[in-house]
């Protein structure tokens, strides 16, 4: 069994991340695990609602050009991201967008997932990281 696992959401893999910042309470965000989002060496590992980036004290890192589901130039923020089950607590670059796939709070791209071992670990209803 992996160190962290989550039930699939609408039959799609999700992970839960925690945003923490100066606003006080932590915010848990459920993001779709999408190995098709970007390549392993992209500038950014996560995509979140830009309002979350701003509310949680993201520091601007520039802009990236996206194509496909998103088109145009989007801001990148340095955000503190935690996954408590994995003792993961690091600032990472996050793209801020105004539209997120319905039912989710963001997208974990391949660059983020590939920092871990990921998969269902023999449990078809779950997605896990270790």
């Amino acid at each position: 069994m992996p160190a962290a696992q989550w039930l699939l959401h609408n039959d799609r893999p999700v992970i839960e991340i925690v945003l923490s910042g100066s606003v006080g309470q932590d915010l848990v965000r459920s993001v779709i695990a999408d190995t098709g989002a970007g390549a392993r060496r992209e500038v950014f590992p996560l995509i979140l609602d830009e309002n979350d980036c701003l509310r949680y004290g993201g520091t601007l890192m520039g802009h990236v050009q996206l194509g496909g589901a998103y088109t145009g130039s989007f801001p990148v923020y340095a955000m503190n991201i935690r996954i408590p089950q994995l003792n993961f607590d690091e600032p990472v670059p996050v793209v801020g967008v105004s539209w997120i796939p319905p039912g989710f709070d963001g997208i974990a791209a391949l660059k983020f997932l590939s920092r871990f071992h990921y998969g269902n670990f023999g449990h078809p209803d779950y997605f896990g990281l270790e």
């Binding site: 890192m61 990236v64 050009q65 496909g68 589901a69």
Partner: protein, 87 residues
């Protein structure tokens, strides 16, 4: 006292960031190449090996994140990244 608007600070940070990014990508001997760089109020305030270290320094220098900027100096911010429509 000189009051500088937030927009002016953001513009100054972005302009400097573009110059640093261009320099670091064109010249491997640049002091910024391979580093994370922190800017506050239009000035370089940190050149570090990790994003965490840069953010720690920025927090000491300028508590308002909207007046700060950090970049991965050698990253290619111009390339178009494809994101598939997932749902």
């Amino acid at each position: 006292m000189i009051v500088v608007s937030n927009n002016a600070v953001v513009s100054a940070n972005e302009l400097l960031a573009r110059q640093i990014n261009q320099e670091a990508r064109q010249n491997p001997d640049s002091p910024y190449a391979g580093k994370f760089v922190g800017l506050a109020n239009g000035q370089v305030v940190a050149v570090r090996d990790s994003l965490r270290a840069v953010l720690e320094r920025l927090g000491q220098v300028e508590p308002d994140p909207s007046k700060c900027f950090c970049l991965d100096a050698s990253a290619d911010y111009d390339r178009v990244v494809e994101i598939r429509r997932v749902v």
